[in-house]
């Protein structure tokens, strides 16, 4: 029984062999640090797959060093050792317990033996069985496989011996002794066996638990798993020492042998872009001691262009020094390429979108602009149509019989209408050009004639003393093809502009041929030529330009080439001769419009061609205009493929230059039909012969000035008078005879001529020339708009009577005879005076006279009153009041005019405004008083009043005049009815004053006091 028991026990003991440190049957016990699974099947699989060539290359010495010196290595090692020690301890403890049990059992056995002996002695059976259960530690390991629990409880069963023999007999004792001896023997044997087993276990233990073996086993397993995981991953793992020499590298697709890598640095291993960078990066990590990631693109011979995401972490020694780096690189070339592609795509999309937005915006703006322009054009057109109706009706009305007042109103109406029409036409033109609607026509025309006619027209409407001249070089073709209407428009615009801003000197046009301008041409014609030198050089160039382009050069050559060309075309009967023209004979015409006017300040040049821009607000006020003219010119020129530039010197003049490409027509049949083709030209020019057509010089001198509206006003008029009077000797013979407007009749005298010139202003100044009217249309017109300067026309009205001398030469009531009488004037001074008076009155008043003959007779009996006033309203009101009071009055607008009026007429009363431009009432009064005292106008002349008769040779007559000359009552009209102002008036020789605004009562009172009729 005991044997059986012992056998059981032993067999149990045998099972209890210490398990291996890396258990084979890991089973499903997960949750371990390594999470290693080794299923039976995959074990083989793993072994099958296992890479034949170990890709990882290890420098074991280094590993040893690492484990020795690096913190992590040593801790890992210590951990392993600790584990091992723990396991050993466990085993020792187990063995000790085992030993304890054994020794206890032995003690018991010995005890029993003693007991047996005693019992034997005492013959008492006191054998006690051992029932103690053996329990062994059952705690498990954290990491390692728990030591299997002792499954069996050792129970030593107490067995009672049964002895057959009779108690206390010898036999009995003998038997018993034998039994016991057997038992003892058995026990001893068992003990022996246990001891053997123990010995064996101890041996086994010692053999099995070699730490290095275990560790390497573990490592090997980890290694295998790592290989398994990493074998296809594009990952390179490595360790490099302090000098960045490789100590370990794992590369799934090695291209180099171990010995080629270990112990070398990156730079030594391979070359190319990125190598240095990665080396530097590793160095940086080494120095900074912080792990870092970076993307590096390699371009090496070894593996081509690849991008790696590199992770480098420093490895520290126990002392905290960096002793190397761990390095891990992943090939992300594909990702980088994709990423870059994506970025590119995104960028493209963004650009596309931005473009789209921009485009939409532009489209929107363009549409808006077009719509606005279209609307402008439509509106302008809509406005123009009814306005044309109004203007033409008014023109028809102007031909009917009207009283002067109605006519005056009608004239205002017409001029305003014309102005509005002009404005709207300008706007229309501009919007047409801008919206691309404007079509250019191609027609033959003669440039010389265009220049001539434009100058003629300008001269006819000239209101000041200016010389207009034109010069066309010989090389300019007789005929060219172009849009003559537009070219005329440009020329007219530029010339009228030049005239507007020129007060004396000349305005001229130079037309000549230039070689085709090169690209840099516009640069040459900068808009900032403003200093004297460049101005001079410009002039020089203009003058030189004639010899500079000799007649046999470019154009002439072209013209001479023309002949065979035309012959050829005729021969081929080509219908497409337009094209041929453009191919063969294109000519660039350059036209300078120069003046000696006020010039343009340099700062205003850039904005000169902008719409609605004028040089300054002051200019706008002084000269009027909408500021559209130049913009239109520029746009038109550019539309024709040319360019318009300007050079100017302030106070000295400006030159506007435009260059246009024109085609020269082929001279098919040089015969009469040429004239017919120039349909545009004025009819009466059509008949002129070629010699006449080739005239290259035109000059319009101010001789024919007949206007009273000139900016110079009376001054100009006075000069004109002198001119007229001294006509016999001073008539410039070389002057180009200005063809007068059509209605000018055969032998009308010079003055009549001048009147008709005035007439011409009226008609040609407007866009829609009215029918030439008879002479009584020639009255003065209050039309500020047309004159475009501040000068109010002097209205020296009704100076036809009043003084005895003048009466002596009583006028024939037939006004038509007056001019003739004028023209045969004698040089007598008194007559001259009278004459000038007459002239000044004539053009304004004889219409009134002719219509109002009753007024004429009445006026002669009336007192002559002069109103000196600049305010239109006041003029109208006063005039009207006077009319109601039964007086007709003469009106002038400032002191200078007043002095002149007094000089030419006798007045019974002067109503003098105090505040007036040019010369105020006080000074005028002084001058008049001075004349009354001295009998000459020296004071006035000194004061700058021009056009007064010279005193030489007229002393007697002026003395004579003085005798009959009473002191003219001069009444101040002042809004400043303050005491000192009144005193001032009186001190300056005025007799009284009327406070403004004038009333019936005041006027009446005043007239009663001073007109002692």
């Amino acid at each position: 029984m005991v044997c059986e028991m012992g056998g059981d026990y032993l067999s149990d003991m045998e099972v209890e062999v210490l398990p291996s440190m890396w258990p084979v049957d890991l089973g499903n016990e997960l949750g371990k640090q390594f999470n290693i699974e080794i299923p039976g099947a995959s074990q083989e699989l793993l072994e099958e797959v296992a890479i034949v060539e170990d890709p990882s290359v290890v420098d074991f010495k280094r590993l040893l060093e690492l484990t020795n010196y690096s913190e992590r290595g040593s801790s890992q090692l210590a951990y392993l050792v600790k584990q091992w020690e723990f396991k050993q301890n466990n085993a020792v403890r187990l063995l000790k317990e085992e030993l304890d049990i054994l020794s206890k059992q032995r003690q018991e056995v010995e005890l029993k033996k003693l007991e047996i002996l005693e019992a034997h002695r005492f013959e008492e059976d006191k054998y006690v069985g051992d029932k103690r259960p053996v329990s062994i530690l059952d705690e498990g390991y954290d990491i390692w496989e728990t030591i299997p629990r002792r499954r069996n409880e050792i129970v030593v069963q107490n067995s009672n011996f049964e002895i057959d023999s009779e108690y206390d007999s010898v036999k009995y004792w003998k038997q018993r002794a034998k039994e016991l001896e057997k038992l003892l023997e058995e026990s001893t044997r068992r003990e022996q066996r246990l001891q053997d087993k123990l010995q064996e276990n101890i041996e086994n233990l010692a053999r099995q638990s070699s730490p290095v073996e275990e560790l390497s086993q573990i490592l090997k397993r980890a290694d295998n798993f790592l290989h398994f995981v990493l074998q296809n991953a594009p990952v390179v793992i490595g360790h490099q020492d302090k000098d960045l020499r490789y100590r370990f590298i794992y590369n799934p697709h090695p291209t180099l042998q171990e010995e080629e890598i270990i112990g070398r640095t990156d730079v030594e291993i391979f070359t190319g872009a990125g190598v240095k960078e990665s080396q530097d990066f590793k160095k940086e990590v080494l120095e900074r001691g912080l792990p870092a990631k970076r993307e590096i693109t390699f371009e090496t011979e070894l593996f081509g262009s690849k991008t790696f995401l590199i992770y480098v972490e420093p490895v520290f020694s126990k002392a905290g020094d960096t002793i190397g780096v761990n390095y891990m690189g992943m090939d992300i070339t594909d990702q980088v390429i994709k990423r870059e592609k994506m970025a590119k795509l995104r960028e493209e999309i963004a650009v596309q979108k931005a473009k789209e937005t921009e485009l939409n915006k532009t489209i929107h703006i363009t549409e808006e602009t077009m719509r606005a322009k279209q609307m402008l054009a439509t509106m302008s057109h809509e406005i123009r149509s009814p306005l044309s109706g109004v203007v033409s009706m008014a023109e028809i009305l102007a031909n009917s019989k009207l009283d002067p007042e109605q006519r005056q109103l009608l004239d205002v109406m017409l001029s305003s209408g014309d102005l509005v029409l002009q404005l709207i036409n300008d706007i229309l033109d501009l919007s047409k050009v801008e919206s691309g609607v404007m079509k250019l026509e191609a027609a033959k025309f003669r440039p010389r004639e265009v220049v001539k006619h434009v100058l003629q027209t300008a001269a006819a409407s000239l209101q000041k003393e200016l010389t207009l001249e034109g010069h066309i070089t010989d090389d300019v073709p007789l005929e060219v093809i172009g849009d003559v209407l537009r070219i005329r428009q440009i020329l007219t615009n530029l010339i009228s502009n030049a005239v507007k801003f020129t007060h004396e000197g000349k305005v001229g046009v130079n037309l000549y041929v230039i070689p085709e301008p090169d690209c840099g041409h516009s640069g040459r014609c900068t808009q900032t030529v403003s200093d004297a030198q460049s101005s001079d050089s410009r002039k020089a160039r203009v003058e030189d330009s004639i010899p500079a382009y000799p007649s046999n050069s470019y154009v002439e050559g072209g013209v001479s080439d023309e002949q065979p060309g035309s012959a050829r075309i005729k021969a081929s009967a080509s219908l497409d001769d337009d094209k041929e023209d453009s191919l063969e004979t294109k000519v660039w015409l350059r036209c300078d419009v120069y003046d000696t006017g006020i010039g343009i300040p340099e700062k205003a040049l850039p904005s000169l061609f902008k719409k609605y821009m004028q040089v300054s607000a002051d200019h706008a006020r002084k000269y009027g205009g909408t500021g559209l003219g130049l913009a239109i010119c520029k746009q038109l020129v550019e539309l024709m493929g040319g360019h318009l530039t300007v050079s100017s010197q302030e106070h000295h003049g400006s030159t506007f230059t435009f260059e246009l490409p024109c085609r020269v027509p082929l001279k098919r049949v040089h015969s009469d039909d040429t004239d017919e083709e120039i349909s545009d030209m004025l009819d009466h020019d059509a008949t002129m012969d070629d010699d006449e057509a080739k005239v290259g010089h035109f000059c319009f001198k101010p001789r024919t000035l007949g206007t009273l509206f000139s900016s110079g006003g009376p001054i100009a008029r006075a000069k004109l008078l002198n001119n007229t009077i001294n006509m016999q000797r001073s008539l410039p013979k070389e002057t180009y005879s200005l063809p007068m407007s059509i209605h000018t009749t055969n032998d009308s005298a010079q003055v009549k001529n001048s009147c008709s010139a005035t007439d011409t202003i009226d008609s040609s100044g407007s866009k829609f020339p009215r029918e030439p009217m008879d002479i009584d249309n020639n009255e003065s017109i209050i039309e500020e708009e047309r004159k475009k300067n501040d000068q109010v026309c002097p209205q020296v009205n009704g100076c036809r009577s009043g003084s005895a001398e003048l009466d002596a030469l009583s006028y024939p009531s037939d006004n038509c005879s007056q001019p003739r009488q004028m023209s045969c004037s004698d040089p007598d001074n008194g007559n001259e005076k009278k004459q000038s008076c007459e002239t000044s009155c004539k053009s304004q008043e004889h219409a009134n006279r002719s219509l109002d003959s009753s007024g004429l007779s009445k006026a002669q009996s009336q007192a002559k009153i002069l109103l000196v006033e600049d305010n239109k309203i006041n003029i109208m009101v006063t005039q009207s009041m006077m009319k109601q009071l039964g007086h007709k009055i003469d009106i002038v607008n400032n002191g200078v005019e007043a002095v002149r009026a007094v000089q030419s007429c006798r007045y019974d009363l002067i109503l003098m405004d105090v505040c007036m431009p040019i010369m105020d009432g006080l000074q005028a009064t002084q001058l008049i008083r001075s004349f009354e005292e001295t009998g000459n106008w020296d004071a006035a002349r000194e004061a700058g009043v021009e056009g007064l008769p010279s005193c030489s040779g007229s002393q007697s007559s002026s003395q004579e005049a003085l005798e009959s000359w009473n002191r003219i009552p001069i009444i101040a009209m002042t809004a400043n009815a303050l005491a000192e102002s009144v005193a001032e008036c009186l001190a300056n020789g005025m007799d009284s004053f009327v406070a403004k605004p004038v009333t019936f009562q005041k006027l009446k009172h005043c007239l009663q006091n001073y007109l002692s009729v």
Binding site: L410, R621, D870, N871, M876, Q884, A975, T999
Partner: protein, 160 residues
Amino acid sequence: MLGLGATQLEDDMHRLLSSLFHQGVLDDHFSQLQRLQDHDSPNFVVEVVSIYFRESEKLLTTLRALLLERECTDYKKMGTHLNRLMGSSSSIGANRVRNVCVALRTFSERSNRAGCINSLEQLEYEQCLLKSKLHELFQLEQQRLMASGLGYGYHSIMLD
């Protein structure tokens, strides 16, 4: 029937005129102006007034330009323009315009820019008011003339 309409319109005119006089927009000079209108010059008032507006609007523009465009306003020049405007305004009896002109001139004499701008704005307002009122008046008159069948409603010059 025509006569009735004319009477009605005449009443309206009188009412408008008296209100303008009452408000001080116009004064006696306007009546004088009206008295100056006769068969010889049937549209005298309209003519004068339209010239007045043409002139005064130019002057106002000038004044405004003088005040705003320059850094240092030319007050002397302003004074000249103001005198003109005052003269015209008082001639046609635009009482309130004239009064504002006086104020503006005072400011300009003292070189008070802010005051000038203020007054100028007031002036423009008064001008506007006057214009619209007179326009109304003339329209009434025209209608009256047409209603009364007088053929000489020659109103070619309108107030704009």
